[in-house]
Amino acid sequence: MSDVDLTHDAGLTLDGVSAAYRGVTVLQQLRLTVARGELLVVLGPSGAGKSTLLRVVAGLEPVTTGRVWIAGRDVTADRPGRRNVSMVFQSYALFPHLTVAENIAFGLVVRDVPKVAARERARTAAEQVGAAHLLGRRPGQLSGGERQRVALARALVREPDVFLLDEPLSNLDLALRVQMRAELRALHDRLGATMAHVTHDQTEALVLADRIAVLRDGRVEQVGTPDEIWHTPASRFVAGFVGSPAMNVLPGSGPIQPSGAPPAGMAGEREIGFRPEAVVLGEPDGAAATVDRVEVVGTDAYAYLTLRAGNPVVARVPAAHRPARGDAVRVGVHWADTHVFDATTGLRCAA
């Protein structure tokens, strides 16, 4: 997993990077590569070290060990302004006293780009994110979505080697988030830029990413395409974090016996994981369970069950055929739909 081949000529490479915050280790020997032109989404729960990862790349936090490479340059010792990275903050971090145009052009102006050229580039950048009509306004007069666009324009005006996006969509309401998500992806494809995007929203990660890096307690748990993350989660943690409701994970020995041919490598202490949509209700020789509660989400319904052995299981069923609370049901699952994890290490066994 983490013994990927690192190339220092990628868009961004973290080579054995550790970082600490107030004496607590936040990143541990992190190895990660973002290819040039790739959109990598760093996904993980709060406190996993996602933001610290970005801040280390930006140079806002120091590394304790390891090297950071950007576009083939070792920037570990460089100050933030010398790394040629742009960052979009969750809070947008716009200058309240400057107009949108001045905000976007800030990085150019302090680098002594002539005024006329800076204004022209700011306009171009604003057009790319659909904020050209806002140029004369101040941040205080903008909505959240508009501020987000301005922050993006400010990030791309300088044509940096790497874009760092720190939960940029998390302050937007759902509809706007979905829209901005699509625009962000389109913008990335248009620019062909290297981007590292941090989020705790697994849907955002699955939709947006070329590849996803799942972070847990300062370590990379798995790196892969959204398909790989979804279909072959490398560990119990990834399986549980990606997907909503989370994947069911049960002891391999007991409460539920999948049908079909078991995969190889079922020896030893194992756990079986299967997503709610893989659960078959009404399987005649399935495990007995009772229905605790049912949530209807449009045409789907999620049935929260308890097996006779006491284990909870969530099943996704068509809303039209949903069981009622208190019903006794029989639950089955096919081996083909299961993921097998080692019970002690939590790592995936077999394919």
Binding site: R79, P80, G81, S91, A93, H97, G107, V110, P139, G140
Partner: protein, 289 residues
């Protein structure tokens, strides 16, 4: 709930102000009942050379001391807002002179300013010969030369900027960290950061502090001039409006005339408050978030 405050406001502020306003148009020596004088006091003020000197002194004092105070406070606030080694005692040191009672503060400076054995001039004489400074010049005659005396009063007032310092310290700390991180990512230099980020973001607070200090400067020149220089060197080098009013009212017992001069001071204050108001409204529109 408001009653105690209202009693105080009416009894201690509004009523005396109204009485002063009325007295400004009378002749009153605190012994005989006031007699109506019409605009006589006002026309006397216009031609009174002493009043003119006092007014000029007050305005010059305000125009020099207030920027100095605010600049020093801003400099210290920007220097000491971080939690770094030694910054805590330094902050306390910056604040301490403000905590000294005014009269004691004045007496202290009287000693500091002593031309012969005062520490300031002793320090200035280090490295020089025959009582001259290192550059071969006569050290300042703090309390006897008119210009040096005015400088002395300004110097005294500069060190009592503790309150301004604390406000600016808080204002600096309240600025968001992320805009500074953006500035760092754009490789803005210290001067650029100050000019393009810190100063504009603190401008509303600074403007209000300047106006507040302008108003206060009409008052805080009183004790130093009263205790340290006694309004001199003669005749009126450090006689400020406040001291002029005090002398006219309580020493020369011309209460009506003093009231008229107070009115001028009040008008200056009102002008400053109007300025403050307009600044405040402008910034509020500007920084709406």
């Amino acid at each position: 709930m408001l009653a105690p405050y209202l009693v105080g406001l009416v009894g201690l502020v509004l009523l005396p102000a109204a009485v002063t306003l009325a007295l400004a148009f009378t002749e009153y020596d605190l012994v005989n009942p006031p007699s109506w004088a019409g605009l006589a006091n006002v026309s006397e003020l216009v031609t009174d050379p002493v009043f003119r000197v006092a007014l000029t002194n007050s305005l010059v004092f305000a125009l020099v001391a207030v920027p100095l105070r605010v600049l020093l406070a801003l400099g210290l606030a920007l220097l000491l807002h971080r939690r770094s080694f030694g910054s805590r005692p330094a902050r306390v040191a910056a604040l301490l002179p403000t905590a000294v009672p005014e009269i004691a503060y004045g007496l202290l400076w009287l000693w500091l300013f002593n031309p012969l054995y005062g520490p300031i001039n002793q320090l200035l004489r280090v490295g020089g010969e025959n009582g001259l400074t290192m550059l071969g010049r006569t050290p300042p005659q703090w309390l006897t030369d008119p210009t040096d005396a005015r400088a002395a009063i300004i110097l005294m007032s500069v060190f009592t900027m503790g309150e301004t310092f604390v406000v600016l310290l808080a204002a600096r700390r309240a600025l968001p960290a992320d805009v500074y991180e953006v500035a760092a990512l754009e490789d803005a230099t210290g001067w650029d950061v100050f000019r393009r980020v810190t100063l504009p973001l603190m401008a509303p607070v600074l403007a209000l502090l300047v106006v507040r200090d302008l108003i206060a400067s009409l008052h805080f020149s009183f004790v130093p001039a009263f205790v340290v220089t006694d309004g001199g060197p003669p005749p009126y080098a450090t006689t400020y409006l406040s001291l002029f009013i005090y002398r006219t009212g309580f020493e020369y017992l011309r209460y009506g005339y003093a009231a008229a001069a107070t009115l001028v001071m009040m008008l200056l204050t009102v002008a400053a408050v109007v300025l403050q108001w307009r600044l405040f409204r402008r910034y509020r529109a500007f920084y709406r978030l």
